[in-house]
């Protein structure tokens, strides 16, 4: 609907509707794509594809091999060099930026047919795209300059990766430049409406730094705050570990027909929790590292000491996570202690099951690390009944990066779970009358 609502002085809806049908009869290919009107003297426009791909941080194949939605059947492609500067993952096919009368996002037929774009929106948007496009180009030019600097340093030492540079000073310099490049790549695409649309529609590709940045921001907004709130209010901190600043998004669910990533702190049925949980680890970073998951129950009654003790339920270690693949592969990881289904005793109250995610040092396999002269009693380390998670963490030199939590209590399914997994007869706790003299 080019220019339509903008210049109709008396905006009767009926007259607008008549005008809209008049313009919509124009063949699709005749209305130009916004990209055709964008800055033709763009800094990047004249460069070859490989340069653009290098600036964005993807391969040149990514740039060319995307389905072009603006190609009419049997017609000339409306694709321009400018459009090509955006890789397939950043240029979703569902958003056609030609201003159209009937927005695809409106599901109701009634709304779609009577919808009118505000006057002047189209013109201002085109100008805005031009401004943002120029800014984006200048940032990519900076990226290319910095990239050549890093390449020069690498060539000087004859290596391909930054961490292979032998000289500490040169390595830190290269590392700082790479951080800068990452930041610029984020800033360059942060105002791109197609990127934002892609992200908000849940189609983000985590290989691009901008999507990782947006995902992290989104996680920090609510889920992380909620997690920390639950951990503190339910006293998982300090009952298990003393402190955490989550940097990694850990998600937990139990398999089944209604499996879902539940919020931390939920009270679940023991039948549901009888199965081995599934995990997702979102690191928001483009790196590969190894993690350990520990599940403990700090609410096991300890009558000898008139207190509570921790029970170890699960240790899964050597979980390898690559930047953009969050799913945890249990078979590829090491099960140090197999999963013990929660089976709270009757009248022992609500039990908390804290899931702790630790990052293994230097991305290596799980191994005991002696610190100083401190002797560690290895036999007690993995004791299910008297598990000390703090001792475990320090013995293996782990770093807590994420956490999760669910709760169980004695319910109608607990006895069935005991029977199924051969956990023996449960105890029924009851109040004892104590005589005070």
């Amino acid at each position: 609907m080019p220019r339509l609502p903008g210049f109709v002085s008396q905006a009767s809806r009926a007259s607008l509707r008549a005008a809209s049908t008049a313009t919509s009869s124009i063949p699709h290919s005749a209305s130009p794509s916004f990209a055709d009107e964008l800055d033709p003297k763009s800094i990047l426009a004249d460069k070859d594809l490989s340069t653009i791909a290098r600036a964005i941080g993807c391969s040149a194949d990514d740039l060319t091999a995307f389905p072009n939605p603006t190609v009419p059947a049997g017609g000339e492609p409306l694709i321009t060099a400018r459009q090509l500067t955006m890789p397939a993952a950043m240029r979703p096919p569902f958003l056609d930026w030609r201003v159209q009368m009937k927005p695809a996002s409106l599901k109701s037929k009634k709304f779609r047919n009577t919808y009118l774009s505000p006057i002047g929106l189209d013109g201002a948007f085109r100008e805005a795209l031009e401004i943002l496009g120029k800014d984006r180009d200048t940032k990519y030019v900076q990226v290319l300059k910095l990239q050549s600097k890093v390449d020069a340093i690498k060539a000087q030492f004859g290596v391909l990766e930054t961490n292979e540079i032998t000289d500490i000073k040169a390595r830190s310099e290269a590392y700082l430049i790479e951080v800068k490049i990452e930041k610029l790549r984020i800033l360059a695409e942060l105002s791109n409406p197609e990127v934002i649309a892609q992200f908000e529609r849940g189609r983000a590709d985590m290989q691009f730094p901008v999507y990782r940045y947006l995902a992290r921001k989104k996680w920090e907004q609510i889920p992380r705050a909620q997690l920390v709130d639950r951990l503190e209010n339910m006293h998982v901190i300090p009952d298990t570990m003393p402190y955490i600043k989550p940097t990694v998004d850990l998600r937990v669910r139990f398999p089944g027909p209604t499996a879902y990533w539940f919020d931390p702190g939920r009270i679940l049925s023991t039948a549901v929790t009888a199965q081995v949980p599934e995990f997702q680890i979102n690191t928001f970073e483009d790196k590969t590292s190894r993690y350990t998951i520990v599940i403990v129950d700090p609410d096991t009654p300890d009558f000898a000491n008139d207190s509570y003790k921790s029970t170890l339920h699960y240790i899964l270690s050597d979980i390898e996570i690559h930047g953009n693949k969050p799913d945890v592969d249990t078979e590829a990881s090491t099960v140090v202690v197999p999963y013990l289904p929660p089976h709270p005793e009757k009248n022992s109250g609500i039990h908390r099951y804290a899931v702790w995610l630790f990052e293994q040092p230097d991305g290596e396999r799980l191994a005991i690390r002696q610190r100083g002269s401190k002797e560690i009693d290895n036999s007690k380390l993995l004791d299910r009944d008297e598990f000390d998670i703090r001792l475990f963490r320090s013995a293996y030199g782990l770093k807590a990066v994420g956490a999760h939590l669910w709760r169980n209590k004695y319910d109608s399914q607990t006895e069935a779970v005991r029977e199924k997994f051969g956990l023996g007869q449960g105890t029924v706790w009851s109040r004892a009358r104590i005589q005070h003299y």
Binding site: Q10, S12, R13, P118, G123, A124, E127, A128
Partner: protein, 279 residues
């Protein structure tokens, strides 16, 4: 650099302030001079960019879309001739449309059309008052002619005065003069402006504190090794710069910052540019 030599030569007799040299050797010192960066402030706002135009258009359209319906029933009471006149000029809307209320489509903006002014006796005075206001053009005759001596050129920019004085090699520069005895930077520059350009200028000296420093080194031997010039900033509001006969002014120009770069000596421009305003 020779371009300020003449001014030194002419006022060589004046008892100028000079730096005391430690050695008793013949005076080879820098002369202290005062100068003025005289500028005409912008008269109109800067030219709008395409984006800013489109943005304001969009914002105003949003505002109109969300404005309340004009309560014509209050200004044109029911049953009066005025109401009749008002409803007559309103464009027809589709009354059957349920979204039309009080002659306004509630999904769009409302353009109120007022009935024409009814005139019984048109006088010269009333015609003048009610005449349609036509804004003055943003460009002037001086712009078309590119008259660099005119103060009516480039109304949206700050114009700076540069002069060319009679000397060995003619170079453009901001006007400067030697400080005579009993004078300070402020008084000497005020005196200089009247001396060079006449009295009929309404000038505001922004401050007595120098805004720019320039060191000029003379190449040939003379009494002085060079000159240290301290420029003050000032604004002109009315009147014209008219070169005076005895001042030795050969030429003068009112130029914007970019234009100055092509007129001034390269080294001089590099030292001076930072003190000037872009707009």
């Amino acid at each position: 650099m020779f371009f300020l030599r003449r001014s030194l030569a002419t006022s060589a007799t004046a008892d100028a302030l000079a730096i005391e040299s430690d050695s008793g050797s013949p005076a080879k010192e820098f002369k202290i001079m005062s100068g003025v960066i005289l500028s005409r402030p912008p008269i109109i706002t800067p030219e709008q960019t395409a984006f800013s135009k489109a943005y304001y258009h969009y914002q105003s359209e949003l505002y109109k879309r969300m404005s309340w319906t004009f309560p014509y029933w209050f200004y044109y009471p029911k049953g009066t001739l005025a109401e009749n006149e008002y409803t007559r000029v309103q464009p027809k809307l589709n009354e059957k449309d349920p979204d039309v209320l009080f002659n306004r489509d509630r999904n769009s903006k409302q353009d109120v059309v007022f009935p024409p002014r009814s005139v019984q006796r048109e006088t010269e005075e009333s015609a003048r008052i009610y005449a349609k206001i036509v804004p003055n053009p943003r460009t002037t005759i001086a712009d078309e002619e590119n008259n660099i001596r005119s103060l009516e050129r480039k109304l949206d920019r700050t114009l700076y005065l540069i002069v060319k004085r009679d000397g060995e090699s003619l170079e453009w520069s901001f006007p400067a003069t030697t400080i005579e005895s009993g004078e300070n930077l402020e008084s000497s520059s005020t005196r200089m402006l009247a001396q060079y350009g006449g009295e009929d200028m309404n000038i505001f000296l922004v401050s007595g504190t120098p805004a720019l420093y320039y060191k000029d080194v003379y190449e040939s031997d003379g009494k002085y090794e060079g000159a240290k010039i301290f420029y003050l900033k000032s604004r002109i509001f009315n009147g014209l710069f008219k070169p005076q006969k005895e001042s030795g002014i050969v030429d003068y120009a009112w130029l914007t910052k970019e234009e100055l770069s092509s007129y001034l000596d390269k080294q001089y421009w590099r030292k001076v540019a930072g003190a000037l305003s872009k707009q």
